[in-house]
């Protein structure tokens, strides 16, 4: 059983946190789908799990580089040319109130 009932206000909050605007029709469609999907996924409750959370299957995850000044990317202009709007060396974005 899914004890997490996904109501309208939960969908509203998810849409806000995800920075993804949804129409009312989409909200209703996704709400219904998510309940169905999570209902089916709740069979994971049957597995006897230990305490270990397996994020990565390999050991060498957090390898640190030497603490020296990294070399800058050699083709900054090619990166910059993908920017939508720039002024001098800044990316232009709308006001952040």
């Amino acid at each position: 059983m899914v004890e997490t009932i996904i109501n309208d206000s939960v969908i509203e909050r998810v849409s806000e946190i995800a920075r993804l605007k949804l129409s009312d029709k989409e909200k209703e469609k996704f709400r219904e789908e998510f309940e169905r999907i999570l209902e089916e996924f709740s069979i994971i409750d049957e597995i006897k799990v230990g305490e270990k959370e397996l994020y990565y299957v390999v050991e060498n995850v957090n390898v640190l580089r030497k603490d020296s000044e990294p070399k800058p990317f050699n083709n900054i202009n090619r990166i910059r040319s993908n920017f939508n709007k720039i002024e001098d060396d800044f990316i232009v974005v709308p006001r952040n109130l």
């Binding site: 004890e3 997490t4 996904i6 939960v10 969908i11 909050r13 998810v14 849409s15 946190i17 995800a18 920075r19 993804l20 605007k21 949804l22 989409e26 996704f30 789908e33 998510f34 169905r36 999907i37 999570l38 089916e40 996924f41 709740s42 069979i43 994971i44 409750d45 049957e46 597995i47 006897k48 799990v49 230990g50 305490e51 270990k52 959370e53 397996l54 994020y55 990565y56 299957v57 390999v58 060498n60 995850v61 957090n62 390898v63 990317f73 083709n75 090619r78 990166i79 040319s81 993908n82 920017f83 939508n84 990316i91 974005v93 709308p94 006001r95 952040n96 109130l97």
Partner: protein
Amino acid sequence: MFTRDLIEDLLSKSVEEHLHKKIEEIEKRNKEINAFITLGTEEAEKSSKEIQKKINNGTQGKLSGLVVSIKDNIAVYNTRMTCGSKVLENYIAPYDATVTNLIKKEDGIIIGKCNMDEFACGSDGTSSYFGPTKNPRNIDYVPGGSSSGSAASVAADFSDLSIGSDTGGSIRCPASFCGVYGFKPSYGLVSRYGLSDMAMSLEGPGPFAKDTYGIALLLDVISGKDPRDTVTVQSNNSYLKTVENFKDGDIKNMKIAYAKEFFEGVDENIKNMILDKIGMLESQGARIEEVSLPNIKYSIPIYYLVVFSEFSSAMSKFDGFKYGHYAGGQDIVEAVSNTRETSMGTEVKRRVLLGTFITMEEFKGRWYTKALKARSAIKEDFKRIFNSYDLLIGPTMPTLPWKIGERISDPLAMYSSDILTVSANLAGICASSQPVGEVKGLPVGLQLHADSLSESKLLKGMRAVEIACGGM
């Protein structure tokens, strides 16, 4: 061996002519099949001339002018990289991915960027913003996904080899549906630098080819330690030798397991065909035994819960300011929300929202953390098997390819088609798919699994199956 003979041909004949034959095929059939999002014909012609010169001097690299296509979530310098999405419709890659760089160094000719499910979110190749890819074997059917264009381009003879990426079957599924060879390397064997991945702990690039030889050749080229991807490990880079040195009698030393869980709910025709191949291997001397993988039935929810979480986090960088589609708005929050609303497809939105939901503070323990704990159980299942066996054998897909449009509206039906492929990614082991026959005119793929970094064993198994099926 097909690819070996092709290389010999290229060395004695003309690389440029070979490339032109591919381009002709593309011009004839790509409009219908839609395997490419961006073609790089001009650049390819330029490199074919350079490679021809090298061949004349005897200084050519390992790929000797073979034509390679690359999935559109892997960067090729100065070439558009869309990830199959409107989000990145006009994004130009500022650098080469490590795999791209290695292919260029070994004189592969890059012909173009392959169509794919949007941000790799799909199992049948129909969710691309640039239209569905069609199965070259029968254009009414799906090619499988998410590396749809990679498999289709090899099946349709648009390229000799291809690079895809596999998060939960995205190489093996289309390889199976299109009737070509596909290989998912162990996590960490191939660098992910320059790959825009769907789920970082599960995904990695891997090769497509027309035979085991082609897979091993390309794996030699792309595998190995890369300082730009810290999870990578050393490769022995002698996979091709392993395949070349394989002798018919080597099959007698193989211990192969099959699990009944990998046959549950599988189409009867597919099941019988795979069991028939298992029988052939046994009659040639392989030791075959039945084992049990009790947690496989939980692999779909575990896999998707991890994917949703990692994907929603990875997608947060697409805000429209730095690159990609931009819709604008009164303030930053509105601008980002509008941008994402108007550029992401339905399955991408579904996964972003679900991933956000299951990682929210109050729901995290119930879903995400629990999935991570359960992931250990899947890894343990495989560890137990590979303590006693070299390989695990079974079908790649539970069904034949379906007709285009058939499953697009039901996410659970789409997810369920990944049941036989996702557990390899959860455990980080290597796995392959290769064609072993046809049912109703549609290809059937046989899947092999081997332990993490046991690529040589896996390739030997593939070669044994290839020979058992009458391959040269």
